[in-house]
Amino acid sequence: MPLYRHGQAFLRGLPEGKGVVVMPGSVRQKAVILDREGIRRALTRIAHEIIERNKGTENLALIGIRSRGVPLARRLAQRILQIEGREVPVGMLDITLYRDDLGTLSPHPQVQRTEVDFRVEGKTIVLVDDVMFTGRTIRAALDAVMDLGRPKLIQLAVLVDRGHRELPIRADYVGKNVPTSRREDVAVLLDETDGDEKVIITEEDKT
């Protein structure tokens, strides 16, 4: 099963890099944080919170951070449609070109396409990602969105917040707060990308 280390998702599948490919077998699953139902409920709650906080869906748009933020953003948009009967636009963002560690990465990771087909000017943008860790991905995403235009407001929704922030950034909507140690990893598996649906904590076997 393809697991990945959070914060390095964009490196998955590359032949070299920093702790990129997590080999099955060398990783031990410690606990299931969210199962299928848990993910469903968390997303439903976040959708309600987004609508409540913004008093509706006026000017609202969701932008998913590649790769697993994209299916999550689509699901949130679907729920918002069910609740409010309004469609909100969904974009996808690749933050590779905005990373602060490119200088240390050789080779450079593959760049996926950014697809934001709406104008971000004056909009309330909700960035969506799967796991929040150091905050560096979100920092890069903020810069990437700013280069597309000047939104009125940017909010952040994440499925899991695992702590260990290295930047003064916090999420507005959190599916679940999970205290972790740095040695552990949080893996989000989604039907769209992984053919399974759960959030697990893993730890590398020292043996």
């Binding site: 032949p15 690749d94 070109l97 905005y98 080779p107 450079h108 996926q112 950014t114 280069d147």
Partner: protein, 312 residues
């Protein structure tokens, strides 16, 4: 063992997988060029040096813009303003540039093999921007990108390349590139300007232009390089235009949705007529735009140590 390529010297021997990797990356880069703010911070602090020992507007500007869109610093050196006029050798000039801290050197040179010489002697990545009549890989990559974008595929297409094949580095790189991607290449031009044994590349030669155009999906017209015609191999502009110029009647022989391409600069009325150059099938201007995207992708890949896996 997978090995990373440091340089882009030519498309001879390039594989479908690595070409596709560059084209995919270029597609991501093209999105940036469509933005209001055409700049990403990716290559901040990196330096790209353009060494052009031959005149060029579009390729040099294209590399310069590609570097700037990625926030790299770009420095241009042309032969007339460099120490080359004082007799400094290419190798010494390059060593100086490497010592000044360049990360990528883009080289155009009248001698075939000059970039290969550099690549073996200096640490920065070297990109061949045209070496003599040998290769012009970035032009071929932008041609491939344009065809893939317009047609959705390259494999199985019939590609006609018409003009002075002997002196054309674009033709050589295009032959390698399109053949590697699974297209069939037909060549056409005056018999004096078709090199011997070119069919060993897998391309087919046609004497009559009509045969080359018949059912072609892509028509690449080469510029008649009058600066390289000194040996009496060229029949004369009017005769050339009559026999090998692309006009509307000839284009009708190609597939109905055939693309018309030209590496530029265009000699209107010689190798291509005005109405075809400006016609709906012409993608000449899009080629220029795509050239920047392809070069951004290459600068990104090579400044990061090269993510293109070489086949061992």
């Amino acid at each position: 063992m997978a090995r990373m390529k440091k340089d882009l010297l030519g498309l001879e021997g390039a594989g479908e997988r690595e070409i596709n990797q560059i084209l995919d990356m270029a597609a991501s880069m093209k999105e940036i060029m469509g933005r209001q703010i055409k700049k990403v911070p990716t290559l901040r602090g990196k330096t790209v040096v353009n060494m052009f020992y031959e005149p060029s507007t579009r390729t040099r500007t294209s590399f310069e813009l590609a570097a700037k869109y990625l926030s790299a610093d770009a420095v241009n050196i042309s032969s007339s303003t460099s120490s080359a006029v004082k007799g400094e050798s290419l190798k010494d000039t390059a060593a100086t540039i490497a010592a000044l801290g360049a990360d990528v050197v883009v080289l155009r040179h009248p001698m075939a093999g000059a970039p290969h010489l550099l690549a073996g002697t200096i640490k920065p990545a070297v990109i061949n921007a045209g070496d003599g009549a040998h290769e012009h890989p970035t032009q071929a990559l932008l041609d491939l990108f344009t065809v893939r974008e317009k047609k959705g595929r390259i494999s199985g297409l019939q590609v006609a390349i018409v003009g002075d094949i002997t002196h054309s580095r674009v033709a050589r790189s295009d032959i390698w590139g399109f053949t590697a991607m699974g297209a069939s290449v037909r060549l056409c031009g005056p018999a004096t300007l078709i090199p011997a044994e070119i069919e060993r590349t897998g391309a087919r030669c046609c004497t009559r232009m009509e045969d080359a155009l018949e059912g072609a999906d892509v028509v690449i017209m080469l510029r008649i390089q009058l600066e390289r015609q000194r040996q009496g191999l060229f029949p004369g502009i009017r005769e050339y235009g009559r026999l090998y110029g692309l006009n509307r009647e000839r284009l009708a022989l190609a597939a109905r949705d055939a693309l018309v391409m030209h590496p530029g600069p265009v000699n209107r009325g010689v190798e291509i007529s005005h109405d075809v150059a400006d016609g709906v099938q012409s993608v000449i201007n899009e080629q220029v735009t795509n050239g920047v995207a392809v070069r951004m992708a290459l600068l990104y890949l090579l400044a990061g140590g090269g993510a293109v896996e070489a086949a061992d």
